[in-house]
């Protein structure tokens, strides 16, 4: 008899302060019955990997709107791997050009969600892909 919940870290790496989207996602995941650890803006990759480790999350969700995604996401992925968190599902969102998407997937980022994605689609994706 266990009481397992999906735990999700929602973080905004980098310097842009536009966290409206991240908050909308956090709320949608909460309403889907998940436990969302919300860390707020201006997180370094180190902070995100550390929080993911301590919180033992199933999912890490990140949002970047500044264009710094190709610098920050690879660093987060490396740190997660260093911490032994290979099994964590990583999804990202924000302003991400189409040509970057295959490269991000190659890195192990399973879901890339651009503007206009219905929150239900993200909830379903997380549910289906959590190990």
């Amino acid at each position: 008899m266990t009481d397992k919940k999906i735990r999700v870290l929602v973080a905004k790496p980098g310097l842009d302060g536009h966290d409206r989207g991240a908050k909308v996602i956090a709320r949608a995941l909460r309403d889907a019955g998940m436990e969302v650890i919300y860390t707020g803006i201006r997180q370094t990759p180190e902070m995100i990997a550390e929080a993911a480790l301590q919180e033992d999350v199933d999912v890490v969700g990140m949002s970047i709107l500044s264009g710094a995604h190709m610098a920050l996401f690879p660093r987060v992925m490396d740190l997660l791997r260093e911490n032994g968190l290979d099994d964590v599902l990583v999804v990202v969102g924000g302003i991400i050009p189409d040509e970057d998407v295959p490269i991000l997937r190659e890195m192990g980022i399973k879901g890339v969600f651009g503007p206009g994605t219905p929150t239900d689609a993200i909830v379903d994706f997380v549910r289906e892909n959590v190990q």
């Binding site: 266990t2 902070m47 929080a51 480790l53 033992d56």
Partner: protein, 339 residues
């Protein structure tokens, strides 16, 4: 699997600590195995509870306290459990206490874990005390537990913590609020946070007045359970007064975001710890806590075993009879217990 996890926790490995907390949070046989193995290694950490209304600055205060203990006081490691409420509708939760604790990132002497209350109403999650135990066994010197935003009646923290800090802010109500029963009674230390705001002195005065009215009665939280009456030594009035009645909670003013008053708060925690050790209050609290815990386990397990051996149809029939006033709930309960 459990053995590796337990060894990892005892060695202070952060991944193992995180996993073990998940295991105890999700309950079930593996949780019991892990907790049973960790139990002999617990009892060393000083457990500090921080409670108070939503927005009173609990997370900021925990952040400032942890920083102080890491940098300015003798080097100590700090584990933090921060509890936020679970939605009664979706079962989901937003755990946002880390937002105010970003100064603590990158320090391996600190471990922060957010926890959802998962339907528990006393200000903590069911598994909070067990998560504290994991951090205790992992060797953290100080474990700080931050409750959900609490109003008047969420006093579970006083059963889990050695030192309970109740955080108030200026302007929350008149003097009558200060003489009501509940959360204010469980404080070992009072903090008026956001003390740069107007009304801080008034809040301090109201609390002081409340303390002046105290008769110096017992200050160990009683869970008023059956078990406590049977096994706790010194539940008799006289002895209780003698052992734990003499502590007068200090009232401190802080501005957590500027770290003002935080050194004094840290000192009050240390002083309270020595008081508990010298007065015998520590042993009494431990005893009280163990009894309360055992009682909860008996309740949960009795329920589990009754439900396991009763089929749904029988349960539904009994509930139906109660609703139609054919049987009273006490008789139904006796039937299920096989009496």
């Amino acid at each position: 699997m459990s053995d590796v996890l337990v060894d990892g926790v005892l060695a202070g490995q952060r991944r193992a600590i995180a996993r073990a907390i998940t295991v105890v949070e999700n309950d079930g046989p593996e949780a019991w195995t892990v907790l049973a193995a960790l139990h002999p290694h617990t009892g060393r950490a000083h457990i500090v509870g921080v409670t108070g209304p939503p927005g009173s600055g609990k997370s900021s205060l925990v952040n400032a306290l942890a920083l102080h203990f890491r940098r300015d006081a003798s080097p100590r490691t700090v584990g933090i459990i921060a509890v936020d409420p679970t939605s009664p509708f979706s079962g989901g939760a937003i755990l946002g206490d880390r937002i105010r604790m970003r100064d603590l990132a990158g320090d391996i002497g600190i471990f922060i874990r957010s926890m959802a209350s998962r339907g528990n109403l006393g200000g903590l999650a069911r598994a909070t005390a067990d998560a504290v135990r994991v951090l205790d066994a992992a060797g953290f010197d100080l474990v700080i537990v931050e409750t959900v935003g609490a109003g008047q009646a969420e006093v579970d923290i006083a059963r889990t913590a050695h030192t309970t800090i109740v955080v108030e802010v200026p302007g929350l109500g008149d003097d009558v609020q200060a003489i009501k029963a509940g959360i204010l009674e469980v404080a070992d230390v009072f903090v008026v946070n956001k003390a740069d705001l107007e009304g801080a002195d008034h809040a301090v005065m109201a609390l002081r007045m409340m303390l002046d009215l105290n008769s110096g009665g017992p200050h160990t939280v009683m869970h008023h359970g059956r078990l406590a009456e049977l096994v706790i030594p010194g539940t008799g009035e006289e002895e209780n007064k003698k052992t734990a009645g003499a502590w007068r909670p200090p009232i401190l003013k802080t501005v957590a975001t500027r770290r003002e008053g935080v050194a004094e708060l840290a000192e009050a925690i240390v002083t309270h710890r020595s008081y508990l050790e010298q007065s015998g209050g520590l042993a009494l609290r431990e005893c009280e806590r163990a009894a309360a815990e055992l009682e909860t386990i008996i309740q949960q397990e009795s329920l589990r075993s009754v439900l396991a051996r009763t089929d749904r149809a029988r349960l539904a029939a009994l509930v139906d009879q109660i609703v139609r006033r054919k049987m009273d709930p006490y008789t139904a309960g006796q039937r299920l217990l096989g009496r």
